[in-house]
């Protein structure tokens, strides 16, 4: 049953990924990517990582992809590739390079990963408990954890600053109009 679930989910993930880069419409791309993220979340669950499963859902699916959709809709940037390609020779070359990269990555994956099933047993049962992850976060990885906090803070400030300037410019252009209340999450 594990194999059935895996292949099903993997197929969905692959289909979502391919469809994402093929889709002409950016909203469709976002939806296919969402599908892919959902599939990967399920794979996390299969890998005994329920915490990451929920994180994947709430951060990637719930926040990041919503942001993407939001920006696409706000900008009306669903289809920007209608114009003629300025670098027509780039695409085939990119495909060749992609193929090369794929071959390298797969060789590495086959050589690096073990073909046996991962270990089971009592240790495997306890594995993936959010408590153990949390403990590691606050002991061994305390410093990186704090740094990610600072990164988030910096990101928040950066976004606010970027927005702020735009709002000011708008206000100057059309005096009297109230700058639209930010919809920045």
């Amino acid at each position: 049953m594990d194999f059935v679930l895996f292949f099903l989910t993997a197929a969905i993930a692959l289909a979502g990924a391919i469809a994402m880069i093929v889709a002409r419409n950016a909203v469709h791309s976002a939806l296919f990517l969402l599908l892919n993220f959902g599939a990967i979340a399920v794979l996390f669950l299969l890998l005994q990582s329920p915490f990451l499963f929920t994180i994947q859902l709430s951060i990637y699916a719930g926040a990041i992809m919503v942001l993407f959709l939001f920006v696409v809709m706000l900008l009306g940037a669903e289809q920007v590739e209608a114009a003629q390609d300025k670098l027509p020779w780039q695409q085939p070359l990119a495909l060749v390079m992609g193929a090369g990269l794929l071959v390298i990555a797969m060789i590495t994956a086959v050589r690096g990963g073990s073909n046996d099933a991962p270990p089971g047993g009592e240790a495997a049962e306890a594995f993936g408990d959010p408590a153990s992850l949390g403990e590691l976060l606050f002991t061994k990885y305390l410093l990186p954890f704090q740094i990610t906090g600072i990164i988030l803070l910096v990101a928040v400030i950066g976004v606010v600053v970027l927005n702020q300037q735009r709002n000011q410019a708008q206000t100057e252009e059309t005096p009297g109009e109230r700058p639209s209340s930010s919809v920045q999450p």
Partner: protein
């Protein structure tokens, strides 16, 4: 995992889906009757006894309406949106314990801390990240609305969709802080353990502030009045579902109500002890003594389910009451409330919770200290925000007219 277990889970899921759908149907009746009462009307009372068949009539009407797809719409997404909306609303029920009916006929397991071996038939999955699961699914709920708004290719729908996206993401944070405070209080992410830990004291006592935040934020999350400007008829001609009709509209409608029930259930689980009520364990012991463990288990299960539903109905009543009482909030005020009040309060609450439980040994004492703190901070917040801001950015028609008259 054996096939029997899988079968049981499938049956559970189907039953809960059906039950939730039914609950939605009668919640509409419940709301309409109550609203009528609040507004000194009678409400629907013609179909069946006391209007009891009104939901059925509505359903039949919606089924037979013509199914229209706007020609400029993105068809696939347009059709997919209601489904995307309704799915999270239903799967959110997977981790909520409605009661405790031990399938091994051992009711004592319900009152044990460890969630393993409970085999509660009234809860589909007791996973160790249940609370996070709830948050995750809640956050996914935004897609249906957003996509519906975009796919309709209608500016009102679009505005509604974008508004809803912003609103849901904003209030998700406040919601998250409130839920996290509860998690910190009871040191668990499992819903079963949450309920177990509320044996001594319901979550509302240590986390009163979190409860208030949760109530406001969850109301915004399910886009209920007074935060329903996503589908404001007056401004947006109905918002994201303007272009939807018949069953697709019904699905959106259903989504909203199921989510309302779901967040109410979450509130019950987080703050009102879930299916617990004082004396439940004694009841189980008494019945066991009289009729044996099987009957005792069933009795405890039914009693806990009843208790849960009773609390749930209380919350639903509260929600309808709020809808009947408060006017819709302005959009910028909505954002202000979410970002400038709820989120800071939630963060303060988190800090206070952490400090209280680290400093004070006794859970009860700490809980009451936190209650006092919650009341105090709420009072301060209310005091700060007492005076409404002057309306300086609204142009009154009378102003325009007077300006035109003076020739300015």
């Amino acid at each position: 995992m054996n096939w029997l277990g899988l079968l049981i889970i499938i049956i559970q899921s189907v039953v809960i889906a059906l039950a939730v759908t039914t609950a939605f149907a009668y919640l509409t009746l419940f709301e309409r009757r109550l609203l009528a009462r609040f507004q000194n009307r009678v409400g629907p009372n013609r179909a069946g006894p006391n209007g009891f068949l009104q939901p059925v009539a509505d359903a039949v009407k919606l089924f037979f309406k013509e199914d229209i797809v706007p020609s400029a719409a993105d068809k696939a997404v347009y059709l997919l949106a209601p489904a995307i909306a309704v799915i999270p609303a239903i799967i959110i029920w997977a981790v909520i314990p409605f009661g405790c009916l031990n399938i091994d006929w051992n009711y004592r397991a319900c009152f044990a801390e460890s969630s393993s071996g409970v085999n509660n038939i009234l809860q589909i999955a007791d996973i160790n990240v249940g609370v996070l699961y709830l948050l995750a699914i809640t956050s996914i709920g935004v897609y249906g609305i957003t996509l519906a708004g975009w796919a309709s290719n209608n500016k009102y729908s679009m505005m509604g969709g974008i508004r809803s996206t912003a609103q849901l993401i904003s209030y998700e944070l406040a919601l998250g802080t409130a839920v996290l405070a509860v998690v910190m209080t009871f040191s668990t992410l499992s819903t079963h353990e949450l309920v177990y830990h509320q044996g001594t004291l319901w979550g509302i006592v240590p986390q009163f502030l979190a409860f208030v935040i949760f109530m406001i934020a969850s109301t915004a999350e399910v886009v209920r009045a007074p935060f329903d400007l996503v589908e404001a008829e007056q401004e947006l001609v109905g918002g994201y579902n303007t272009e939807y009709g018949s069953m697709k509209f019904a699905l959106f409608f259903m989504t909203e109500y199921i989510k309302l029930i779901a967040v109410s259930a979450m509130a019950v689980t987080f703050f009102f002890g879930g299916w617990r009520f004082p004396g439940l364990e004694m009841l189980g012991a008494g019945v066991e003594g009289l009729a044996g463990p099987v009957v005792a288990s069933i009795a405890v299960g039914l009693a806990s389910l009843g208790s849960f539903l009773l609390k749930l109905v209380g919350f639903l009543f509260l929600s309808v009451w709020i809808r009947a009482s408060w006017p819709r909030i302005r959009y910028d005020r909505l954002m202000d409330l979410g970002w400038k009040w709820l989120l800071p309060l939630g963060l303060i609450n988190l800090a206070a919770t952490a400090v209280a439980f680290v400093l004070i040994e006794s859970f009860v004492l700490a809980s009451f200290m936190l209650l006092a703190f919650s009341l105090l901070s709420l009072a301060i917040a209310a005091g700060i925000n007492r005076v409404p801001k002057p309306v300086d950015n609204v142009t009154y028609v009378s102003d325009v007219r007077s300006r035109a008259e003076t020739g300015q």
